[in-house]
């Protein structure tokens, strides 16, 4: 299976047989090769041995917590990780994202959602060339020229707005946490000043979205961050 370089391998670490079976059916029909592990320890072994292209990790594992698995994994691997959680609270999600997860999904989730997220985190696999122009809706962002156009006409963004949009475009399809944005744009001391983000986001939506109050690309993830969709 791994012989064919076009087929990507996904390692599923979950203790529930039914979830593993369901994920295998979903992922295989989407064209991935699936490996399974039912404990965190075995999952880490499998990750080292099989070198998967992505990992789907359940946070509630019986032997060691999902966060711990993630921390061990991040000591030696940059493999993209999608965490699954049953907990509605955002604290744990943020913790997982901070610990190095690339994105998250809350159970119960749909198959389409899962494959979309997986595609997004797999996009930045090593060696792939970053395009210099990214298009979403009627917006065109030229990263090389540092230009944003809407229906061909240039949109004037402030420096911070441009930096925010660039960050979201670089992680398009994935969630970018408030903390991450504030650190990168305003420095580590600014964490907690989320109203900076809100204010700039409101302005940006007014410039880029058809209906700024019902955005279709610059989405809010309540309590966590923002996500650029529709690219």
């Amino acid at each position: 299976m791994t012989a064919n370089p076009a087929i990507q391998t996904v390692l599923v670490i979950d203790d529930e047989v039914q979830i593993r079976r369901l994920l295998r059916i979903t992922l295989e029909s989407a064209g991935y090769c699936v490996a399974e592990a039912d404990t965190g320890r075995f999952g880490l072994d499998e990750a080292a041995r099989r070198q998967p292209d992505a990992i789907v990790l359940d946070l509630g594992l019986p032997d060691m917590g999902g966060l711990e698995v993630l921390r061990h994994l991040r000591e030696w691997s940059r493999v993209p990780v999608l965490v699954l959680t049953v907990i509605a609270g955002e604290t744990e999600k943020v913790a997982a994202l901070d610990a190095g997860a690339d994105d998250y999904l809350t159970k119960p989730f749909g198959a389409a959602e899962l494959t979309a997220r997986l595609r997004a985190i797999l996009r930045r696999a090593p060696g792939e060339n970053e395009p210099s122009v990214v298009v979403f809706g009627d917006i065109e962002m030229d990263l090389a020229a540092r230009l944003v156009r809407r229906r061909g006409a240039e949109v004037r963004l402030t420096a911070k707005e441009y930096a925010m949009l660039r960050l979201l475009v670089m992680h398009r399809g994935k969630v970018v946490t408030h903390g991450q944005m504030l650190r990168e744009l305003w420095g580590p001391k600014s964490e907690g000043n989320t109203h900076y983000l809100r204010v700039h986001m409101t302005h940006m939506r007014q410039k880029l979205e058809a209906d700024p109050h019902r955005p279709s690309h610059l989405k809010t993830e309540s309590g966590i961050g923002y996500r650029l969709v529709g690219t």
Binding site: G89, E90, A159, V199, R214, T220, S222, G223
Partner: protein, 894 residues
């Protein structure tokens, strides 16, 4: 007898009941067998040990508590082989004394224990002063007891023995103890045989009795003692028989409800009176009451102590004790007699001079005869003893008035005499008589009975000598002067007497009022207290004040295994006192100082008695010198009763509350279970049915089945989330993370989550474009808004429009989110209940546990906000959520 004729075969119900009660009490307590003899040396211990050996042969679990062999070989041989509980060593004034180890025996809990010499007095520091009290406790612990007793040690026979032998017996047991005896075995021996044993040195006499042994063992004495013992045993057998008869319908001897009443005072003759009455009552098979009449005057300490002793004796001999207050003893006795249905009153013969009685309007006996009606009066002559009987009735208790009062009397009379001397020539001597009378009446309002008596005589003498012609002689010439003088003398004395009586009555009233006030204050303090602790605190402060003592209260810990001191006590309960209190609590009897149990204790321990148990113990610690008067004892018991009622009331209330809570939680559980099972099973049923059909379905059906499955799954998800949220709220695990929120974002996310349910409802959103940011927990608020929308969708018919509005009320510094509909609306009565869990609207469509609004309220409150239900003008319901609003800080310029 009449009753026997009218109902010859029917058992007397009262007697039957009493007999049943006694049987019942016996069934619960150990059996007491007494080996009874006429004097020491008859072989009681020997007989007891022989009986024990026999029991041991029948494998009865028995121990020897205490047996005195006095070194006699035959007895010691019998003791061999019997298990002995080692005696307790007690150090007393440098000597080692040994006593039965009551605690060890109780702990060992045998079937039968041998306790020699029932009348023995325990060493100071033992639990009980007397050994028979140890025995009572053993019996109470359901342990059978064998014991030995001589006739001279019986309280009621002690006098007779003294009269026969001239030896005063100090160690006695109360006759009431005999009520506990199940079997009495007479150990008899002829006087000759006894004297023989005596000469062989086989008889041991202890202490002072040994000195009098020669006298004691005279043949004539022995015969008399033997007769006494035999008669006593015969009497016991007779009583038992009578009891048996009356209970088993063979009633030929029927005693009417005779009841004796004896007046008890502090005099030594009262002691004899008490014994006499007890004998009389026993021979009549009657019950008896001992009455003490407290006069207005306080008794001196000696008299008080003697009175206490006399009453204690009466109590020991089985009397009921009544203490009453009255200045007139005869009145009081008749009143108590009528109240208690007494048929006979026993009083001592007065020893005071007749003239004093005459002055008083007759002596006690005369007055009793006059007002006693049909009650028989017995007058028992007092034995002349060396000491003068202490006064206890009426007139003789002339209170020593202070010299100041006499000085006042003579001063007033002297001044008046001088003035009259000057006035007499003008007014004439008869008027002077009226001046004197006025002065005597005036004085009677100020001074005591003695001084006024003196004033009456002195003024009469002065008037006669100085004013009535012929002056300067005691001779009165004219008849009318003599009449006038006589009348004056009588009026002066009567006036003085009346006035002092009024004063006495006043004082009496005051005392009674004080007691009533004390109880009133207590009741009031308890009544106005809101918690048990408050009430106990108030009650103990009252007790402190009324007894002049430090007090403590120990209360049952709730499960009846121990009592713990209440913090409000002013007396710190030491370990030793704790043990006394514990005893009082377990045995439901008073203990400690002023009682027979552990009298060396510091405090007076009164159990708080309720129907079937003691709920605590009240401890009064009086100053070392103080005496507890009967009135105080009464009051202490009343206090304890009040406190017991209070504690019981509190316990009942707490129990009621617990029950209510239990019922409530039971109801809640049922609702939850019913709701959850319904809510879970409906979507599950849909899921399993849809999945079954899926395999055989065509393309179109498959789509609609998939739709059904999705709906059912969402419903399950919602239910589980609600339950989890409610749990989070109730466990207090909910900690909102406040952050800057954009209202539009929240509404968008919430609307997306419930878009399925909103299908079919025209939905309008009205949020100002420039709605500022506010601080909230985004995830919680998203759910709050989703729940608000869901609530409207679920409780209104399809097609009902739903409106969502938001805004800022800067004046009140709050943000609001309002969801309104055109549904059936909310009745005003329901609005408060609305936010409680498991509340479902009457118009609710199937589905929902009624947790939605409860969660909204919980989440909003956690963020410092509020939720309000109201009426939509024009019909429908409005729910509005408010959150505090504060503008955010500046965003740095770029």
């Amino acid at each position: 007898m009449l009753s026997g004729v009218t109902a010859p075969d029917r058992p007397d119900p009262d007697a039957l009941l009493a007999s049943l009660k006694r049987d019942e009490a016996r069934a619960r307590r150990g059996r007491l067998k007494v080996f009874f003899g006429m004097c020491p040396g008859v072989g009681k211990t020997y007989a007891m040990l022989r009986a024990a050996q026999q029991e041991l042969g029948e494998r009865v679990d028995l121990v020897v508590g205490v047996v005195e062999t006095h070194g006699r070989a035959e007895t010691e041989a019998l003791l061999a082989g019997l298990p002995v509980v080692p005696r307790k060593q007690i150090a007393y004034k440098n000597i080692q004394l040994t006593e039965m180890d009551l605690e060890a025996v109780l702990a060992r809990k045998p079937r039968l224990v041998l306790v020699d010499e029932l009348a023995h007095t325990n060493a100071p520091g033992s639990r009980h002063p007397k050994r028979y009290q140890d025995v009572i406790e053993l019996l109470d612990a359901e342990i059978d007891v064998y014991t030995t007793l001589n006739v001279q040690h019986l309280e009621s026979r002690a006098d007779a023995v003294r009269q026969i032998t001239g030896v005063t017996v100090h160690e006695t047991v109360p006759d009431s103890l005999l009520g506990l005896v199940d079997q009495i075995e007479l150990v008899d021996i002829t006087p000759e045989a006894l004297r023989e044993r005596l000469s062989e040195g086989k008889v041991y006499m202890e202490g002072r009795a040994a000195a009098a042994a020669e006298n004691f063992f005279k043949d004539t004495h022995l015969t008399a003692l033997r007769e006494l013992a035999l008669r006593f045993v015969a009497e016991q057998v007779d009583n038992r028989l009578r009891e048996l008869r009356s209970a088993s319908a063979l009633k030929t001897v029927w005693r009417s409800g005779e009841r004796l009443l004896v007046a008890v005072g502090p005099s030594p003759s009262s002691t004899q009176l008490v014994r006499w009455t007890r004998r009389m009552a026993a021979s009549q098979g009657a019950s008896w009451i001992a009455v003490s009449v407290e006069d207005t005057r306080p008794l001196d300490k000696d008299a008080q102590r003697r009175l206490e002793q006399n009453l204690a004796l009466a109590r020991e001999l089985g009397a009921e004790i009544v203490v009453t207050h009255d200045s007139d003893v005869a009145d009081a006795l008749v009143r108590v007699a009528l109240q208690n249905n007494a048929t006979q009153i026993v009083v001592g013969k007065s020893l005071r001079p007749r003239w004093l009685d005459a002055l008083r309007g007759g002596n006690l006996v005369d007055r009793l005869l006059r007002i006693g009606g049909s009650i028989d009066i017995y007058v028992v002559p007092a034995e002349r003893s060396g000491e003068r009987p202490a006064p206890w009735v009426g007139w003789r208790q002339i209170e020593p008035s202070p010299a100041r009062e006499y000085a006042e009397v003579f001063g007033t009379l002297a001044a008046l005499t001088a003035a009259s001397w000057l006035a007499a020539p003008h007014t004439g001597y008869p008027a002077v008589g009226f001046f004197y009378l006025l002065a005597v009446i005036g004085l009677s309002l100020r001074v005591g009975r003695g001084p006024i008596f003196v004033a009456g005589i002195a003024s009469a003498v002065a008037w006669d000598f100085l004013f009535i012609p012929p002056v300067f002689t005691f001779v009165i010439g004219r008849l009318e002067d003599r009449l006038m003088f006589g009348t004056y003398f009588a009026v002066a004395l009567i006036t003085g007497h009346l006035a002092s009586r009024i004063r006495a009555q006043e004082r009496n009233e005051r005392m009674r009022e004080d007691r009533a006030t004390a109880l009133f204050h207590l009741t009031q303090a308890i009544g106005s207290a809101r918690t048990l602790d408050d009430a106990v605190f108030a009650a103990l402060r009252q007790a402190d004040a009324y007894f002049g003592a430090t007090t403590a209260l120990l209360l049952d810990d709730g499960n009846g295994s121990a009592i713990m001191p209440h913090f409000a006590g002013s007396y710190t309960v030491a370990e030793k006192e704790r043990a006394v209190a514990d005893w009082a609590w377990r045995n439901r009897r008073k203990a400690g100082r002023f009682t027979d149990t552990l009298p060396s204790a510091e405090g007076f321990h009164v159990p708080l008695l309720r129907e079937d148990a003691a709920v605590g113990v009240l401890i009064l610690c009086l100053p070392p010198e103080a005496l507890l008067t009967l009135a105080q004892r009464d009051l202490a018991e009343s206090f304890a009763t009040q406190l017991a009622q209070l504690v019981e009331r509190e316990q009942l209330r707490a129990a009621g509350e617990r029950e209510k809570l239990l019922a409530e939680s039971d109801k809640l559980h049922r609702t939850l279970l019913d709701g959850v099972s319904h809510e879970l099973k409906t979507p599950l049923a849909v899921l399993s049915a849809a999945v079954e059909n899926l395999a055989s379905a065509d393309e179109a059906t498959r789509d609609s089945l998939a739709n059904e499955i999705r709906t059912a799954a969402r419903r399950l998800n919602r239910l589980v989330n609600n339950l989890l949220d409610q749990t989070r709220l109730e466990s207090g695990a909910l900690k909102p993370r406040l952050d800057w929120c954009d209202g539009h974002d929240l509404v968008n996310a919430a609307t997306e989550g419930v878009s399925d349910q909103l299908d079919g409802h025209p939905f309008e959103v009205d949020i100002p474009k420039d709605l500022p940011l506010f601080r909230a927990d985004a995830a919680l608020m998203e759910q709050v808004i989703a729940n608000l929308l869901l609530n409207s969708a679920l409780h209104t018919p399809a097609g009902t429009p739903i409106f969502l509005a938001a805004g800022v009320d800067t004046a009140k510094a709050r943000v609001f989110f309002t969801v309104a509909d055109r549904g059936p609306g909310l009745p005003a009565a329901m609005r408060e209940r609305l936010f409680q869990k498991f509340q479902r609207g009457d118009a609710a469509k199937a589905g929902g546990l009624g947790l939605g609004l409860s969660i909204i309220r919980g989440f909003v409150t956690a963020q410092g906000g509020d939720v309000v239900a109201g009426e939509n003008p024009g019909g429908g319901a409005v729910l509005t959520v408010y959150l505090p609003y504060k503008p955010h800080g500046d965003v740095p310029e770029e």
